[in-house]
């Protein structure tokens, strides 16, 4: 019997990264800003998307891909706002992968300016999978507690934007806003932070202005 030692040096996520790179190229060429939303279950990803739909007014400008383990519920909520939405049910898998997005891409209407991808509610696994997004958002809701960034570092170090949600509950919770912002910036000094509430509307106009500027920059780069 002969044995042979082979040096491989293959990235275990190489296939996903390659598909993600192709998606990013395709979307940017079409002038579509793709945003991958990460959070634990119940942090308010779907609610944030509903609020963005209301503020964009012309809802033909956005499209949404919803990732969940089961049910069509989130896509139905988004469609109720007049926004085209596709539901991916992973049937148990804890994250979305780029190949799932690639299948839907041809159906995304050409007039779209934004494609929001709501990942499966989970602060761990989705952080390892690029989906071809231009921006990654991580959401953290105030009831989850202010200790989360350091406990789930990968989600925060790989994101561009931190959206703190349910800020209207701050008076009732032992949530140290300054501490969470400082710790998130230690993990990722480039992180943009928005403090928001879907109930009072706090921070949402600022977030929308940020998205609009990012979309304009992308369109200008690929004009």
């Amino acid at each position: 019997m002969t044995t042979k030692d082979v040096i491989v040096l293959a990235d275990l996520l190489g296939t996903n990264k390659k598909i993600a790179a192709d998606i990013r190229t395709e979307l940017e060429r079409r002038g579509i800003l793709a945003v991958n939303l990460l959070s634990s279950p119940g942090a308010g990803k779907t609610t944030l998307l509903e609020q963005i739909a209301v503020r964009l007014r012309d809802t033909a400008r956005m499209a949404v891909i919803e990732g969940d383990i089961e049910t069509e519920r989130d896509a139905e909520r988004i469609r109720a706002k007049g926004v085209p939405a596709w539901q991916i049910t992973t049937g148990g898998a804890c994250h979305l992968e780029a190949k799932m997005i690639a299948r839907i891409l041809p159906e995304v209407p050409p007039e779209s300016e934004y494609l929001f991808i709501e990942n499966v509610g989970n602060l761990v696994c989705p952080a390892s999978y690029e989906l071809g997004e231009s921006l990654r958002f991580v959401l953290l809701s105030t009831p989850e507690g202010d200790d989360k960034p350091k406990k789930y570092p990968k989600a925060f170090t790989t994101s561009d934007v931190l959206v703190l949600t349910k800020a209207d509950l701050l008076p009732y919770l032992p949530f140290d806003l300054a501490k969470v912002q400082a710790e998130a910036l230690e993990l990722n000094p480039r992180l943009r932070i928005f403090v928001t509430s879907a109930v009072t509307g706090q921070g949402l106009d600022e977030l929308l202005a940020f998205l609009t500027a990012a979309r304009r920059d992308l369109a200008a780069r690929h004009a």
């Binding site: 002969t2 044995t3 030692d5 040096i7 275990l12 994250h95 761990v124 170090t157 000094p189």
Partner: protein, 115 residues
């Protein structure tokens, strides 16, 4: 728990390697896993043991080398390990750090057996 889907893509690469080199069995697999890769080495090892049954790597031993997180400061050139996930240069406090290693998930080496 996405370790199982990472192991599934690992086995695709293992099959390719075995075919390319005409191997009948895989005796050993070595992975390099960064501390900030997002996977847990112990869970990866359990997923590997679960997955390998009935494959060419059924008898393979898995070695996981954990790679610490190392950064270089673009402002002052200081290189060091990051222990507490504070991404500010310990020498000059600049936030402009380049991650040198510690986020990777790599199949480094396979030990192949022919007849």
């Amino acid at each position: 728990m996405h370790e199982l889907s990472i192991v599934a893509s690992l086995f695709e690469t293992l099959d390719e390697q075995a075919q390319e080199h005409g191997a009948k069995r895989i005796a050993g697999v070595t992975l390099k896993i960064g501390r900030l890769s997002g996977v847990v080495p112990e869970l990866l090892a359990s997923a590997f043991d679960m997955y390998k049954k009935g494959t060419i790597a059924e008898e393979a031993t898995l070695t996981v080398e954990v790679v610490p997180l190392r950064v270089r400061c673009r402002a002052c050139g200081e290189e060091r390990h990051v222990e507490s996930y504070v991404f500010l240069c310990a020498a000059c406090t600049s936030p402009d750090l380049e991650i040198l290693e510690g986020t990777e998930m790599i199949l480094e080496r396979v030990e192949l057996e022919a007849d």
